[in-house]
């Protein structure tokens, strides 16, 4: 059996910050080629490998190649049966399992589509999966999909939506020795940040899965010069909303939450930077129900946004399932264990055998 921890470490060791997935896509393409049951297609830094065995159903297994910026964890590090490093959990462990199964399963029970794609960790407009949906939707067709995002090798159902808004506050420039002649836009950030931090998370239960919404400031900027009262400052916030809201509703709700801290009539601006819709749990589909059965454990809600929503948007029910603790995604202590990798492989192998 493949050493999945070593295989994951190899992938961690190939930097693949969003927009820089070329080297990793090369490796994936090279590994999948020359297996006669797989037809491999590359589009940009996206690689898709499909069987065409005439099975009555087709299952898509998909995972993103990119990572967020490293945080002093570029180098893969082993400690016993644990691997530390950027992307170990999100989601090079999942990629290693997918690669291993793709080349080890010449005769699956359903037709399979293995999809490795770029630019998931950045704005939706750059998504490699969107690039595939636009250029080659035929490559992504299927009856159900599994996203190999880190879920602790349990099924995480559906996904929350996400939106990013940039709120720009206006002021009036002045000399800092005489600030009363101006208006400090950075000082105005205080109450806005307080409102974001004080917002109380809402939870919703759907199909027995609990979705917890989250609101976080993710960027702040402002300032002109060391002796100038600044006339502009901005904060960008990321809102993760439950599947019972649509994107437009979620944006309007957020606007109401923060309306006391900005005023468009005074020149402040509200700009939707990025948004992606949520997806409801779809565990009624036979392939996904079988996946839950194979895990032998109750499913949970996916609180992060994943491309489960992208598949759902195209009518393909999907769920998240992969090795790695989702709590460690984007965390400096990101890591994955051999046990999780092997468990994920065993569950998926049982499903597609």
């Amino acid at each position: 059996m493949t050493d999945l921890l070593a295989a994951t470490a190899e992938l961690v060791g190939i930097p693949s910050l969003s927009h820089g997935e070329g080297a990793l896509a090369d490796l994936v393409e090279e590994r999948l080629r020359d297996h006669d049951w797989l037809e491999v297609t590359r589009l940009g830094d996206n690689v898709v490998a499909r069987t065409s065995l005439g099975r009555p159903q087709r299952l898509v297994l998909a995972g993103h190649l990119d990572t967020v910026p490293p945080n002093h964890n570029e180098e893969p590090k082993f400690e016993g049966d644990t691997l530390w490093g950027i992307g170990a959990a999100d989601m090079k462990g999942g990629l290693a399992v997918m690669l291993d199964l793709a080349v080890a399963t010449p005769s699956p029970s359903v037709d399979l589509t293995w999809c490795f794609y770029a630019c998931e960790e950045v704005g939706r407009a750059d998504s490699g999966l969107l690039e595939l949906w636009r250029a080659r939707p035929d490559l992504l067709a299927g009856d159900a999909a599994i996203l190999g995002e880190p879920t602790g090798a349990l099924v995480e159902a559906g996904c929350q939506g996400t939106l990013k808004v940039k709120i720009s506050l206006r002021g009036v420039r002045a000399h800092t020795a005489r600030p009363f002649t101006g208006r400090n836009a950075i000082h105005r950030l205080g109450p806005l940040l307080d409102a974001v931090a004080a917002w109380e998370s809402r939870t919703v239960v759907l199909d027995g899965c609990t979705y917890a919404e989250q609101l976080q400031a993710v960027a702040v900027e402002g300032g002109v010069a060391g002796n100038v009262v600044p006339d502009a400052a901005s904060v960008s916030v990321n809102f993760r909303y439950a599947p019972d809201r649509a994107l437009a509703d979620a944006e309007e709700y957020l606007r109401q939450v923060l309306r006391g801290s900005f005023c468009e009539d005074e020149g402040d601006a509200w700009l939707l930077i990025d948004g992606a819709d949520s997806a409801p749990p779809s565990l009624g589909h036979p392939l996904l129900a079988a996946l839950v059965d194979a895990t032998g454990a109750a499913p949970r809600a996916k609180v992060g946004w994943t491309d489960v929503a992208s598949f759902w948007e195209h009518g393909v029910p999907a769920a998240n399932f992969g090795p790695g603790d989702p709590l460690l995604a984007h965390h400096p202590d990101e890591r994955v264990t051999r046990a999780q990798l092997e468990r994920a492989r065993t569950v998926l192998a049982a499903l597609i055998a």
Copy 2:
């Protein structure tokens, strides 16, 4: 008589953002050369012209060539006898008056040193006046000094000190869908900015002049990526303090004001970026008393920092006197009137005639 409004407009039309004063220094040098009562020295983009007539006293008249970044006011614009534009008040009006008097006063009552220097509007370390004090202190020697900063053609005595501190707040990175595993450093800016905004100005009366202290946030930054709880954020604040505090006392006071909003034991950092000491009123000096008399009006406190402090540090009592409303310095509506320019010229001419 020179058209001082047109002369100021000519100077406004020559961009001289800090570190980019070359073209303006060229013009000043060219205008001052070829007058046999002036010895002109250029050092970098600083220009000094001195008389050596053996008078018992020497008065230094100094002004900075640079401006803060423009705010859609690069182009000089006239409306009747008012000139709008970056630097019109701070302090190209003063420079125009100085240039005019320098070439029109071959036989002053006191020896004169006309000093035009670079990089006043940025960090102290870059100051052209400091460059002169280090390389050619003989050029700046004098019994008293007048800084041509905008004062509304009244004497503004002494100056407040200024310091800039950057406070960096730590957090722990996490995925924004699961922020409870991290700590949002940008959210921590809220209470810190609130403390800065809520700080109450202190006023001090010295020699009948009222100094009002000011505290302003001048820069803010933070953020990693749109889906990452940020682990770092910072704010820079500018504190303008009265002449009864020294720099070190002022920094310690500010630290006490903000101590509830940051914690060095938790990895937060306090960094003094820039600081310049205050200067007390020095109106007892005969030349400065004569300046006050020539204005026929009561002196006021200078609440901004000026190089009055730099002269005071070298034992030269100094005061601020120049055309232009100090409230308009660094303001998008910066402007100067012909009446102010002519009044400033008349007062200075009476003093040095």
